[in-house]
Subunit: 279 residues, 4 copies
């Protein structure tokens, strides 16, 4: 397929490279210049402006957050202005951006091990399947309503924060009992909880290492508010999500803006008298 | 080693068989008769009473709950009355009983894949290592204070209930949005949450199938109260554990005594207007 | 003073009458016709349209909710279009509307027993003091920032919902213990909690009488979200307010739209197995 | 009536004086000597030991906490050993002890304005009515089960902690918005919340003055745990009570043992970034 690709961060570059490798004709664009060089060497076309990346059958974006998506899509000279009739815009989930830094092995994006949650018109998704297959291991379809894919993503982030909060409380408990938190974590993640989310976030909690932020507390808070807003619209009470809401609000009130979102775990430790306040 | 083994449920029988297979001399006892037949065929001695199982270097118990342990240990003619000087009592964690029914593959106990959290006097644990190696993949030592192993077990159960609560809220959310809960779960457990806890409890939540109980709500509540009591003694606030406490109390107030502990997930669905009350 | 008065419900009519009685020249307007008759007999001028009520030194509005305020102020031919330079708009707190139906004695508004929380430019408040004195017992000034008066109002509503939730839990407790809830309430409100809020909401909880709604659950929810939004902006975690947020969301998810906001108390009773679901 | 009175603190002395004034024959005892002098001058008999106060128709105790009650009742030479057949023991609620220091006007106990929650055998209460009338304004009967009076007391303390928590959150909100907390409190307690509980605890919160403790945090925590234990037995979830449980646990984990129980309000302020940690 002839496609455009906008957003050439670590994750975006990997996906675009996979698309090239799979034989697609890819025109790349990144706001910050220079990021396209390696891809151009691999055969990509360089777009001088967003519109140049919008002349194919589809344009994919891999952007860090909602403001970036808005600006690229709806800004002057953006995708909305530039895309041809019948072309498809695929907004790749930001969860991967955040998580790729922590949770995927270094080369996952190069070996097509991603899982893709897609929602949208059936024919649009059908048309994009060759693309998805180029960089994803499997595509899950969640109906015709594009926001549903976003709901899946947001609920996934909610589940991750739940892991963080539960580990934070358990680690405060065993830590105050005098047990070694790393040893405890090793036990957990060798037995029932043997997945990277528990391993990586558990290690960050045990090490109290929240800089540099893989996914910052303000971004985590934003996603928490978005899942709560979606839940409110649907009239779904989520008491654990509101507990985490209060954690984020406390962390930010105390100066934790620059920390990783898993720094909400500091609060359980502080409440137990184990730590100084975050800021 | 010459050892006794008391408690021949599904899990206990598997462990005892492993111990026999590893060459240990095992005398077995079970309150309900008949459960020892298969083991006797494999070479075990049959104990007519508890005391007969207490004549070796160690006695292992694999019992369902605290009252059973108390009765076997402190009852008339129990272990405390019968054990020789220097002999060691090893109380195997009940978590395995509960989880084995849901979370281990059918033959895990036969292939020595268990993880063991041990706490107690160094020489006692050293003495038991040959036993642990016979049925466990790895032994984690948590200091000299036996209750610490229990704290590890209780905190593990707390983490499992946190998984249940977080899945319950996420599934209520996507369910009320009209997405297919099984498909959603399949996505989650193929990607970031690819472990049996998420798969099995997620399936129970999506199927609303809470009978027969693998681990009953009253037992789950008991462990929740025990972890909160330990946390209170240590002055460790655990707000997520108290949220789950209220879930259990609600479930039991509404007649959920005979349901699996994961039935606390019904409450998130009911709060969202998706389900009838549990009872 | 020469003033306009818009919004002639029960509370607005009482205040306007007080203003007339105090000698002010009052032009009245109400969207639904006929409500101005009694006031016109008492000496008020009838405004044919909003603009006619905007020709004096100040215009006061006493409206049920935010949409009504928005429409009257910013709609075509509204206050914003019509007010003269230097004229003052006084938006009277809707809390009084809601509470007057439950919490004030029938004639409180006629005898000037209201308490007024005012925020705005000093000279604007100074100019309005003669008005406030005509219908309020005392005016509290909360700085120059008009939204601050609103924050006071919203936080007041939060305190009322806290009373409702705490009474709901206490009444569920003593009720399930077999004590008479009315007798218990009588004890409470004769001793430490001898104020109408505890008496009136306590009686509604004991009687389970939530129709007709004095202040409806959706309006209560709206104010809860507004106080949480204000708290979020200020980075102030309010866990009790989020607990009540979840209560409202549950009540509305279960069909409680037409009930009084104090019907969130049903949920504590239901959780305890005392009541059927709200809807 | 001929009665004994044990426990001559501020509250106990006032009640005993009222009983004397009403013409009862009172024998007084206090562990710390010297506290009986003023009462002896008013006509009381001095008991040299507990048994001497147990020779009448009833013995009343007014003691600070449960250990004191236990020791006086069940200790060697205590009430249980000494009381005659048919005599009645009246354990006066400790809530009054705690609250009298903060919430009653200085002479309330002398003018018989107390409210009494009584539970017990009908004829025992009937027999004691003349006593209750001597120092209480009104006696509320809560059935034949003495613990029910205790449940009323504990639920009352729960309501007070709910007031503290709700005020703490509201005051953190308006405080961080830049409003004057005392002025805000003055507004609240002049209007909808015009009772001493809001006034006194509100002032302590605004002043951050938690020493000396009128009712200490450990005692407040004890009562919180007792109400939760009663609720657990009755299967009544009380999420607001568990929120307060976590507040107490946090306060105590951070060194607040010597502070007044209303110091749990510090935590809302600290979470908002307004205060340093308690300890």
């Amino acid at each position: 397929m002839k496609i455009g690709f906008i957003g050439l961060g670590k994750m975006g570059s990997g996906i675009a490279a996979n698309l090239l490798k799979a034989g697609h004709e890819v025109t790349v664009f990144n706001r910050t210049p220079g990021k396209d060089e390696s891809l151009v060497k691999q055969g990509a076309q360089r777009a001088a402006q967003i519109a140049d990346a919008c002349r194919g059958e589809a344009v994919l974006t891999m952007l860090a957050d909602d403001p970036a998506v808005e600006s690229v899509v709806f800004g002057a000279g953006g995708i909305a202005d530039s895309m041809g009739k019948g072309a498809i815009h695929v907004s790749l989930s930001t969860i991967s951006v955040a998580l790729s830094q922590k949770l995927t092995t270094a080369h996952a994006e190069r070996t097509g091990q991603l899982f893709i949650a897609a929602a949208g018109a059936d024919d649009a998704i059908d048309a994009c399947l060759p693309l998805f297959e180029a960089f994803g291991q499997r595509t899950y379809r969640f109906g015709n309503h594009p926001p549903d894919a976003n709901l899946v993503k947001l609920s996934g982030n909610f589940l991750i924060t739940s892991v963080i909060e539960s580990l934070a409380e358990a680690m405060a408990l065993v830590g105050k009992a005098g047990l070694d938190q790393h040893h405890y974590l090793d036990f957990l993640t060798s037995s029932l909880f043997a997945i990277p989310i528990y391993k990586n976030y558990g290690a960050m909690i045990a090490d109290k290492k929240f800089v540099p932020a893989g996914f910052s507390a303000p971004l985590g808070f934003k996603d928490n508010r978005l899942v709560l807003a979606a839940a409110e619209n649907l009239r779904v009470p989520m008491p654990l999500a509101t507990l985490i809401y209060n954690r984020f609000l406390t962390l930010l009130a105390q100066g934790g803006e620059s920390l990783d979102w898993s720094a909400i775990s500091l609060l359980a430790a502080e409440d137990a008298g184990l730590e100084k306040k975050a800021a």
